[in-house]
Amino acid sequence: MSSIYFIAFPLLFGFATPLLGKLGKNGIAYVSTLMQVALFVLALSLLFSTNWHVEVISIAPPLGISFVLNKASLFFVTLFTLMMMLFSFYYLGLRKTDPYANEGKFFILINMLLAAAIGLVLSSDIFNIYVFFEIAGVSAYILSAYKKTPKALEAGLKYLITGMMASVFLLLAITMIYIHLGSLNLAVLSQTFSTLPYNLKVLISLFLLIGFGFKVEIFPLNFWVTDVYEGSSSLVNALFSSIVVKSYLFVFFHILYLFMPASDFSTFLIYLGAVSMLVAEIVALKQTNLKRVFAYSSLGQIGFIFAVMASENVYALTAAFFIILAHSVAKMMVFLSITSIQREHKSVEIATLKELNSPFITLMMILAMLSLLGIPLLAGFVGKFLALKDFAVSGEFVILGVIVIASLIESIYYFKIAGNLFSKGEKREKLRLTLIQKAVFITLALLLLLVGTAPFFFSGFINDAAKVMLDSSIYINTLMGVIK
């Protein structure tokens, strides 16, 4: 029954908030963090337990809800709970000096976001996916408009309009799937989807691509992303970049592998991802705002992950999982550093980095950027190396070239930022971090170094996860075994 806890606890927390407020001023913050630690420990214990097997929870089959916790979804659940836990610890340090107004709401929203992201990964029912899609969306819209400044509200409005468009197209796809196939269960659908006529398949997959394309920030549909990143606070951006996008990416490719394994569609998606990466990196060059630069860098990395995941083989998917891990950790470090800088300097222009007086933050940002570039001994290298090797083996030299060129462009603006970090000039007062914030940064940095220097600790599990995610017959058997 453990997979239900991952969704139920964060959701229950929201309903219990009025009661928790009576515990005192810090009650909500501490209970929320404690719950996230408990969820992470639970995920970790599942990760390390030897007699663990695939878990399926079904309520009133065959029409009811079912959640599947296999190795692939466990990887994402562990990643999300870890990231959210570290985020909460960082915020505990931050709130001593500068808490958010109306803090109780903030904790409800981040826990809703966690529940929805995990729900997206676990649920095996396409309408449930729509519901979690909307819960994640609504909490993300409110989080991005949280500060209620004109910029934040504009970001929230832009996010909300694109999110509404996405949900319209996703609902249209679900409608057509139900009308023609008479089921919503992913296992049943993956067996019957190939019986549809060709035109209908193209239409449904196009609607699914538009619906998820807005959310996974793929090239023609990602015009809104940088504005949202700039308008919302950099604290929240850390969540968007390391949790929300990753859950949508997982769901999109999960559905793709189940519905249309090894089709022509995936070649199109590989090119879409590569183009997305190249365009984002080129546009990032002329940005002067740190948040926008890293928003474009996120878009580039997401395009890269998209291209790698669309290759549909075990080696590429293993590489994609490594990139996702490295990117989540690195972007969490970058955006938390930017939050600290913004509190001190009240500005996020790249030029303000010249005045930064904090060797610790400088070191953290340099480590994160080197990892994003894919420098050996850091986590980013493993995934990038495996992915490029796989593209070379399968003879996709055009994609390989595009990715290498995009990475070169990426390195230009990272060096621009690094140059500003190291330049000599008038420095401000020393930037103060609390002990708990330093501990969060050091944990993230150690994780980057550990994955980079000893990927063999992780590769066994990640390889298994990639196999489970790619092989639709395993998924169908586990789910149908329960239903029948």
Binding site: F127, E134, Y141, L153, E154, I161, M164, L171
Partner: protein, 130 residues
């Protein structure tokens, strides 16, 4: 004359065709509104019209006139001749979600208008390349 016309209208295939074509027209009215209007509330209304078109399409194309309502009570226990209740349940959920997101959007728009007195999305340019 009118009798035949009414019986033609009452056929299952006619109802399905009307619902399908009608919802498609409604969808494109919404899309047209979305593309031509720049007022933020009109954009929300246009997207809501598109959503409603999908709800109508879903209910209409799974509805069969010959079948009874999906309610089990005395005298009506034959599940085989009942309409499928799942689309109704799904659409109810979707209506609630759509309404909630719409309300959230309107509240954002009101707050934004209070601060900046802007309603046109073309004028929303607080951010961007400076």
């Amino acid at each position: 004359m009118i009798e035949t016309f009414l019986s033609y209208l009452n056929q299952n295939s006619t109802i399905t065709a009307m619902v399908n074509i009608g919802s498609m027209v409604l969808f494109f009215i919404g899309l047209f509104g979305l593309l031509t209007h720049r007022h933020i509330l009109r954009i929300f209304i246009s997207i809501s019209i598109m959503e409603i078109a999908i709800f109508l399409f879903f209910i209409g194309s799974t509805f069969n006139k010959a079948f009874t309502a999906p309610i089990v009570e005395e005298g009506y226990t034959n599940i085989a001749v009942m309409n499928d209740p799942i689309p109704h349940a799904l659409i109810l959920t979707a209506i609630v979600i759509g309404m909630a997101v719409f309300a959230l959007g309107v509240s954002f728009a009101i707050e934004y208008h209070k601060l900046t007195s802007r309603t046109d999305i073309n004028e929303m340019n607080e951010m961007g390349e400076s």
